[in-house]
Every structure is written in structure tokens, then in C-alpha cells.
């Protein structure tokens, strides 16, 4: 049986659905095919660009902006609580380090300025550095001017900080291990790198985009759920879709279980670039195929849930265990040699009654023997309260390292959501601007297609 549409979107995550909605809004008949049988009820983590919310009329969108945004346990049973209010954060930090408290507002301001530059880059396709098109040149010139107008300090910061290790950046500013560990953790999110690796300062800023100054954890939302509930596009679940291509053109997808073919001249995939392109590799130029194979997307994160006997106090919503930069670095050392961290970085990313959603890093592919016990030990809970799910591949479909961003993402020279196969587009977090900004890649891709 075959059915025919104008466009097929692979994947019903935030980016897939956003792309589908934009395409549907332009009058295309769209179907979304999703591998997972049921909608994922865990939160979308990351800033949803306001343009997406406006364009798609996402009235059902709920943003969670917990306050305090991070709670860090201290020796002796106290906690460090970092609040959305700058003054309260300064007060809290003063209790562990007066010099760090004094630097907090300036640090927050400088980082916010830099994240603002990334923000400008993220809501459009990456600058095309080879272009001779006057409009694109004007856009690049405009970006350059924008940065220069931010002042000398911002230009220097941008050049200096992006390639730095988050540990070096934080060591420049702060003395408290607790504060540096808690902030440094954001720099390693979804990376197989430790805080002493270059480029982690960029990853830190990437995840700061869209947050207010002084808040270094992204918002959570129900954007995927909200999009799906709008029921503007058809979503078919429970079947893995593989791209079909012939003579260099996408023709549709085939569903794995049923063998059903869906035909359409346009296929837009929010799945990983490698997963999307591998089955049609025969249609690709060998150089391009090699570049796709070389995408670094090493899974290091386990997501999980912790079920407590009763609901915890609200500050648990952002409980972070990353007591120092050395702790994170040692956790990474294990992963470097292919083992799960003996003492992993664990953060509660949301809670819902007595059910807590967890981020555990580093968990490279492997057997994960004893992982649950170790996480339980770190959290001081019983192993049977935990359920962990390790990701074999990076949830971002490509790590956000400096060699894999902007015009290098997903592969060098193919950053405009296109592929060498006509009619096949990518729109997932493997494309610019990458994971942690739900909907941005989907919107950019849809606009590029239209």
C-alpha cells in the first residue's frame, strides 16, 4: 500500500514537529513518522526561540523556569542555591566565597553578552563563508558590525573564550570549587570531553543562549507535547522509517515493520545525519559519505528517573552533583578509556510529584555494569529507586565541538540543511544550531526548504 504526501518528516521530536508545522503552514500536505510508539513525557530541555512560539501560535506551551535554578549540596548538609534574582545569588555565593560573589554580576553580564552573539547566529542558517551573493555578504557584514558595536571587550572575549576550556574560563574568575563544578558541568553537557578540554567554554555559552543573565541552566518546556496536541499534522507512530532514494532524488520512505511505502518528493529528517544517510549511502559521493561517517556523536549521557518515597522539597528540581572541576574531569577520564564514570556527574532536571528526571554523565556505550548502584551511591538513594537509560549515540546527533558547529555542521560545506540527494533535507539537532535549542534547527530548515 502506498500513500502520497507533499512532504514526509522523520521524527516527532521538537525539531521534526516544528519543521512539519512550518511546512503545513505553507500549505503542504505533511505526515510525520515516528519510531517510538508513545509520546515521550519527559521535558524538552532548552530555550525555545520566541519566533517559533509566535509563528506557530504555541499557546499551550508551558515554560518551566525554576527558582532557584540550581541547588548544590555543600559539606555539612547545607546547600548553595543559585537564584534567578542576581542579588540573592550574590548573597548565596558570598556565604562560600566573598570574592566570587563580588565577581558574579560582572561574569554574568559578560557571558550574557557573548550568548547574545550566538543567539543572533542561531535563528538563521549559518553564515556561508564562501558566498559571493551580495545579500549573504551583507548579512555577514551586519553580524560583524553587530559584534564590533558590542565593544572591544566583547570582541576580545569572543575570540579568547570560545576556544577555551570551561575550567580555564572559570579559574580566571572564581576560586570556589563548588561554584566552578556547578557551572563547569554545563560546559560538558552531551560532550565526550572533560572541563579541561578546549571548546567546552563554547558549549557552556551555547547552553546559556536564551537564559537571563546569571542563569546558567536552560529552561524546560513541553514544546514537543504542545506541538503534538495541536494536531495540525498527522503523526504516525511505532514504525521506523528509512529514506528511499533513486537516481539522486528522494522518493519517500519505507516503514520498517509494515514494509509500507509512503511517497513524497520531499523528505525532511530530524533523525541523526548518519542514521538518515547511511541507508542511501550508495547514492552519495564517497567524500561526503566519509564526512558523515566522521561525525563525532559519541553517547555519554544516560537519562533516567528516580522515584522517591514522597515528593521532595521544590529545590530538588535542580539538584546538581558536580562538586568540583576535578570531579568532572575524573568522571571524564573513565569515559576516555571506555568505562562509565566511577563517580558520575548527576543532575536532576525536573520533577513531577515524587518522580525525578535525571541527567547522568559520563556513560559511554558498554555494558553499564554497576552503574545504577554507583548513581544511587552518588545520590544517596536505593538502587531500586532508579531507572537509567543510556544513549548509544549522542542525543545531539553530533557533539557541539568547535569543529562541528556553524558551517561545519552537520558536515563541512553542507550546513544549509540540504544533502547531495535532491529533495532530502535534514532538520534535527545534528544540524545548525544543534541540540539544546528545541525548534531552532526545525525552523531554519523549513524556511530553507520553503
Amino acid at each position: 500500500m502506498t500513500a502520497s504526501f507533499d512532504a514526509i518528516v522523520i521524527g516527532a521530536g521538537a525539531n521534526g514537529l516544528v519543521a512539519a508545522h512550518y511546512l503545513a503552514g505553507a500549505g503542504k500536505r505533511v505526515v510525520v513518522v515516528e519510531q517510538r510508539p508513545a509520546a515521550d513525557r519527559s521535558a524538552d530541555i532548552g530555550w525555545v526561540p520566541p519566533r517559533v512560539i509566535r509563528d506557530l501560535g504555541l499557546s499551550q506551551l508551558r515554560l518551566e523556569q525554576p527558582d532557584p535554578w540550581l541547588t548544590v549540596p555543600l559539606d555539612g548538609g547545607n546547600t548553595l542555591e543559585l537564584s534567578r534574582d542576581m542579588g540573592r545569588s550574590v548573597e548565596a555565593i558570598r556565604r562560600i566565597s566573598p570574592p566570587d560573589a563580588a565577581k558574579w554580576p560582572e561574569f554574568s553580564r559578560r557571558m550574557h553578552t557573548l550568548a547574545g552573539v550566538l543567539d543572533k547566529l542561531y535563528l538563521a542558517p549559518p553564515p556561508d563563508i564562501e558566498t559571493r551573493d551580495p545579500r549573504e555578504l551583507a548579512r555577514i557584514g551586519g553580524l560583524g558590525l553587530y559584534v564590533r558595536r558590542l565593544g572591544k571587550q566583547a570582541v576580545i572575549d569572543l575570540a579568547r573564550i570560545l576556544p577555551m576550556a570551561i575550567a580555564e574560563l572559570l579559574d580566571d574568575w572564581f576560586e570556589s570549587d563548588v561554584l566552578k563544578g556547578a557551572l563547569g558541568a554545563l560546559g560538558i553537557w552531551h560532550l565526550k570531553q572533560g572541563p579541561r578540554s578546549g571548546g567546552t567554554a563554547f558549549n557552556f555559552l551555547h547552553h546559556h543562549v536564551g537564559s537571563p543573565a546569571g542563569v546558567f541552566r536552560p529552561v524546560r518546556s513541553n514544546v514537543t507535547q504542545a506541538l503534538e496536541e495541536m494536531k495540525r499534522v498527522e503523526v504516525r507512530r511505532g514504525n521506523r522509517a528509512t529514506v528511499l532514494a533513486k537516481n539522486g532524488r528522494a522518493t519517500g520512505v519505507v516503514l520498517e515493520k509494515s514494509g509500507e511505502m509512503i511517497l513524497a518528493p520531499l523528505v525532511v529528517s530530524s533523525a541523526s545525519p548518519r542514521g538518515t544517510l547511511d541507508p542511501v549511502a550508495i547514492e552519495l559521493d564517497p567524500e561526503f559519505a566519509r564526512a558523515v561517517r566522521n561525525i563525532k556523536g559519541r553517547g555519554v549521557v544516560a537519562r533516567g528517573t528516580l522515584t522517591l518515597d514522597r515528593a521532595p522539597p521544590p529545590s530538588y528540581a535542580n539538584f546538581c552533583i558536580a562538586p568540583s572541576l576535578d570531579y568532572l574531569e575524573r568522571a571524564y577520564d573513565d569515559a576516555k578509556y571506555g568505562r562509565d564514570s566511577a563517580a558520575p556527574y548527576v543532575e536532576v532536571q525536573r520533577f513531577d510529584g515524587n518522580r525525578l528526571e535525571l541527567h547522568v554523565q559520563y556513560v559511554p556505550p558498554g555494558t553499564h555494569e554497576g552503574l545504577t548502584e554507583r548513581v544511587a551511591q552518588v545520590l544517596k538513594v536505593r538502587p531500586d529507586q532508579l531507572q537509567l537509560q543510556a544513549a548509544e549515540e549522542s542525543l545531539y546527533h553530533g557533539e557541539l565541538t568547535l569543529d562541528q558547529i556553524l558551517f561545519m555542521r552537520p558536515v563541512p560545506g553542507w550546513s544549509r540543511y540540504r544533502t547531495p540527494i535532491a529533495g532530502l533535507f535534514l532538520c534535527g539537532s545534528g544540524t545548525h544550531p544543534g541540540g539544546g535549542i528545541p525548534g531552532a534547527a526545525g525552523r531554519n530548515a523549513a524556511r530553507e526548504i520553503l
Partner: protein, 527 residues
């Protein structure tokens, strides 16, 4: 009292290059060196009777060809002998060799992996090309991207055009080289672990990074930029040790009329009304000059020779933030005979000892060596680059005996508990025992050993924290950020006070590019 046109502080190779260029342009120049001999970290010393050692830096390749030409260094005694091969012994008794003969290297690689043998040529071509693409940048004064001065804007545009003209593919390759770890980059090309380990080792030299740390791919390229007699990527020894390089440059400088004074440490630069007017020596003597040029590293140049009240406070904090973190040591050994390596008992007819021996048996080995250093210990089993200079230049040791130079990484400057005599010996033992494990019987041939820690490098040469590059070659400390944003053009916030050491662009290795660029800049400035 005589007023010199220029006083150069420090008689290392960069200071001497600056002096030679200024003297060649007719300036009256005085070089002041604290130690009894010129050379800084490029010195040859006979600390054990009959045996001569290149104390610190030991191979030459990066020395800019235009300097050799401009200063006519061969006439002043510079003679470079090629170092042709590299052998890496493996833990399982096998080895990987790179020989002078390209086809032989290919056959050797083929023995390990036919696929890698195929990829090797393409990789070599790419690196060659990338090095050519980056080279013009080494010979340019970095423009200031925060400035609106027409000269800076023009230079920035030119730079932008240079990169665009590379074409998309090469530009992408350059971005990768600038940002990736050497291990990740090599993973894209090769499958043979020992090959990746040996190649990545050149990416970690002088850094406080491991082969899996981003930023090391660039250092890999930096070491590909060597050029000897127009032959790309050839390393060599200077006849008479690296001290002979310094002596040749010093001789060239003298021939142009420069005066060089040793045992003349500078205590302070005299600043009057925001202008440098001369220097005070450690013995209290005062010397006057129209300009003063420091070849010392940025920390000593600005925080020791000047009072912080002479400098803007923001600049002082930038310099304080400039990272050194010395990570390497050196062990120099006088030998009764050559050690025999298990992997190649016959030494390939002497070829093994005429080249380098790299102790980098696997990526994990090198990465673990880094892990030790990361937490403040010296590597229990370090990465080592070993050469036997007496095999190429017999004058370095008595007949039948040999000198052995071991470059060792990692030995962190900030060792847990600090460096002591006992720790130094323990470090030396770790080095010797590791060599022994690849070459049994080696220890019995040792007549004398000299162990140099980063602290020793700092004490003897003055290089802060013993960093051999006078400041880490990290992406955020390069180009217009070296040594501090806004002050990468060799000028300093103090008028008539200039900088010309490896801590300025482009820095690193016995290259002399910083010294030359500084001199050209000073001359252009019309003084």
C-alpha cells in the same frame, strides 16, 4: 654616557635575531644576557667532561629560512645535519618506523595496515598544503580586530581574503585543524594505533594537553611547518648542538656591529614619563637607550622588569592570566655505548640511532601520561623523544661514547608538593626505567645523567614555569591574543619599550620569527 639606539634584554635566539636585524639596519645595538653565554634555551654545554649537550631544545627545523638567508647564517658557522627517521618501539616487541626514504616508509606502514599506507600520502599532502596556507600568517604582524584604524581593517580584509582563496574544502580542513584534538583528527585518517600515537605526540609537545584534548591538532601543524634547505618537514641537528645556532646568530649580529654583553642581567627597565629610557643592571649600573626591547617571556617582561604602576591595570591582569604551565623535562645522558632496543636489535644498521626514537607505543599510553600530569604528578611512564646527537655529529662525545638527549613529557611545573632534589631523581628514574623496559641493558651503559625539571628550566633560562614556548601555544593565546589583546604588535603600553620573544606572535620553537617581525616592526616605526 653612551646612549644606544636599542638595548635588547636577553640573548636567546629571538633577542639575537632582533639585535642582528636592527644592527644590520645601522642601529647601535647592545644585547644584555644574564648568563655567561648567549643562547637562552638554545645552548650547548659540556657538563660532563668530553660530552657536549644541547641542554634544552635539541632539534632545529622551524628556524625561518628568510632569517638564515638575511643573516647569512651558514657563513657564521650554522651547519644543519638532517635527522631522517623515527622509530617507535611497541610494548609487544614490534615497532613502527618512518624512514628517510618515502617508499620504504610506505612499505613499513603497509606491514601494519594497507589502508593506512594508502591514506598516508593523502594525509601528508593535506598537511603540507595546510602548513603552506598558515605560513604567511607566521610572517605577518597580527592585525587588531578591535581597532578601527585603516591599517588594521585592511590587514583584516586581506586575512579574510587569504582564507577565502583557500577554497571551501581547505578552509574546512583548516577549521578542523584549529579546533580538533590530534587523536580525533588522526582517527579520521588512520586505524593503526601506534601510528596515531606517534603522530599525535608531536601535537602535545610543550603543551599541557593530551592527545585527546581539542587544540592539539593545531600544534601538530605547527610542527609540520619546519623547513630545512627547502625540504619540507625535515628535522635536523645543528653541528655543535643548538648552542651553535645561537652562536651563529650572535656572530651575525656582531658582524653588523651589535655589542653583546654576557653576565649582565637586567634588573629593571627605566621608565620616565611613560617612556622607556634605559635599563638598570643587577649590579646597579645604568645604561641608556632610545628604545628597549625585551626578549624575555611576557610575565618577566611586564611583571618583573617594569613596575605595575607603569602599566594599565587591565593589561597587567591580561598578562597575569597568560598561561605558562610548563609540562616538559629533559634528561641528558652520557653513554658508554649505544642502547639496543628489543624491537630492533640490530638498530637497522645504525639507522635507528641516527634518527629519533619515540616512546609513544599507543594513544592510551600517551593519554595516561597526561592524566598523571593533570592531577599534579609526573608521568610514571612518560612520552619521550630520544635522539643520539653524537651519532650524527661525532664531535659531541669522545670516540666510541655517546650522548643521548631525552625530551620528556609530562613533568608539570606545579608538581604536588613541589619539586625537590628527591623528586627530580625519582623523575629521572621513571625516565630511565621506562627506556630500560624498551632497551634492556641501557642503565648499565649510563656514565652520567642530568635531569632537568620545568623548575630547573625556569631557574636556568628564566622561562616562566619552564614553558619551552615562553607561554602556551593554546588557541586563545595565539595571533592577536599573544601575549595580550591589543598588544600583539610588539609594541607595549610603555613608549619605546618593545617585546620580541617567543611569548609574542607567532612564538614557539627555534623559529626566530618573533624576533624578526619585532625588528621589522621597530624599524618601520621609524626609530
Amino acid at each position: 654616557m653612551k646612549t644606544y639606539d636599542a638595548i635588547i634584554i636577553g640573548g636567546g635566539h629571538n633577542g639575537l635575531v632582533t639585535a642582528a636585524y636592527l644592527a644590520r639596519a645601522g642601529k647601535s645595538v647592545l644585547v644584555l644576557e644574564r648568563r655567561p653565554r648567549v643562547g637562552g634555551a638554545a645552548v650547548t654545554e659540556e657538563f660532563f667532561p668530553g660530552f657536549k649537550f644541547s641542554m634544552f631544545s635539541y632539534v632545529v627545523s622551524l628556524l625561518r629560512p628568510e632569517i638564515i638567508r638575511d643573516l647569512d647564517l651558514p657563513r657564521h658557522g650554522l651547519h644543519i645535519l638532517p635527522l631522517e627517521s623515527t622509530v617507535t618501539p611497541m610494548e609487544n616487541g614490534n615497532y613502527l618506523a618512518a624512514w628517510a626514504d618515502h617508499d620504504e616508509t610506505r612499505r613499513e606502514l603497509y606491514r601494519h595496515s594497507p589502508r593506512d599506507a594508502e591514506a598516508y600520502d593523502e594525509y601528508g599532502r593535506l598537511m603540507h598544503f595546510m602548513a603552506q596556507a598558515v605560513k604567511p600568517i607566521l610572517s605577518m604582524v597580527p592585525p587588531d580586530p578591535t581597532s578601527f584604524a585603516p591599517s588594521d581593517l585592511v590587514a583584516l580584509l586581506k586575512l579574510g581574503k587569504h582564507f577565502r582563496d583557500l577554497g571551501a574544502e581547505r578552509l574546512h580542513a583548516l577549521v578542523k585543524l584549529m579546533t580538533m584534538s590530534s587523536a580525533d583528527l588522526l582517527d579520521e585518517w588512520f586505524e593503526t594505533d601506534v601510528l596515531k600515537a606517534t603522530k599525535s605526540a608531536s601535537g602535545i609537545i610543550g603543551t599541557f594537553l593530551g592527545p585527546r584534548s581539542p587544540g592539539t591538532a593545531y600544534v601538530l601543524l605547527h610542527h609540520y611547518m619546519g623547513e630545512l634547505d627547502g625540504v619540507f618537514r625535515a628535522w635536523g641537528f645543528a653541528k655543535g648542538g643548538t648552542g651553535a645556532v645561537s652562536e651563529a646568530i650572535a656572530s651575525a649580529a656582531r658582524s653588523f656591529g651589535a655589542e653583546i654583553r654576557c653576565d649582565a642581567g637586567v634588573a629593571k627597565v627605566i621608565v620616565k614619563g611613560g617612556k622607556a629610557t634605559g635599563v638598570v643592571l643587577e649590579n646597579g649600573d645604568e645604561l641608556r637607550a632610545n628604545i628597549v626591547v625585551s626578549s624575555l617571556d611576557p610575565r618577566r617582561t611586564f611583571l618583573q622588569l617594569l613596575d605595575s604602576s607603569d602599566l594599565p591595570s587591565e593589561f597587567v591582569s591580561d598578562i597575569k592570566r597568560f598561561k605558562f604551565r610548563g609540562s616538559s623535562g629533559k634528561v641528558n645522558i652520557a653513554l658508554a655505548g649505544l642502547p639496543q632496543f628489543t624491537c630492533m636489535p640490530d638498530g637497522a644498521g645504525g639507522r635507528l640511532h641516527r634518527g629519533a626514537v619515540s616512546i609513544s607505543p599507543s594513544l592510551e599510553y600517551v593519554e595516561r601520561a597526561y592524566d598523571d600530569a593533570k592531577y599534579g604528578e609526573f608521568s610514571r611512564r612518560p612520552y619521550m623523544d630520544i635522539v643520539f646527537p653524537s651519532m650524527i655529529d661525532p664531535g659531541m662525545a669522545p670516540p666510541g661514547k655517546h650522548v643521548m638527549s631525552i625530551f620528556v613529557q609530562y613533568a608539570p611545573y606545579n608538581l604536588n608538593g613541589g619539586w625537590t632534589d628527591a623528586k627530580r631523581e625519582a623523575f629521572g628514574d621513571a625516565v630511565v626505567n621506562t627506556v630500560e623496559s624498551f632497551a634492556p641493558g641501557f642503565k648499565a651503559k649510563i656514565l652520567h645523567r642530568q635531569v632537568i625539571t620545568p623548575l630547573d628550566i625556569e631557574r636556568i633560562t628564566g622561562l616562566s614555569e619552564g614553558n619551552i614556548f615562553a607561554g602556551e601555544l593554546a588557541l586563545h593565546q595565539l595571533f592577536f591574543l599573544r601575549p595580550a589583546p591589543g598588544w600583539a604588535k610588539f609594541a607595549t603600553p610603555v613608549r619605546n619599550f618593545w617585546q620580541c620573544g617567543s611569548g609574542t606572535h607567532p612564538g614557539g620553537g627555534i623559529m626566530g620569527a618573533s624576533g624578526r617581525l619585532a625588528a621589522l616592526r621597530i624599524l618601520k616605526d621609524g626609530r
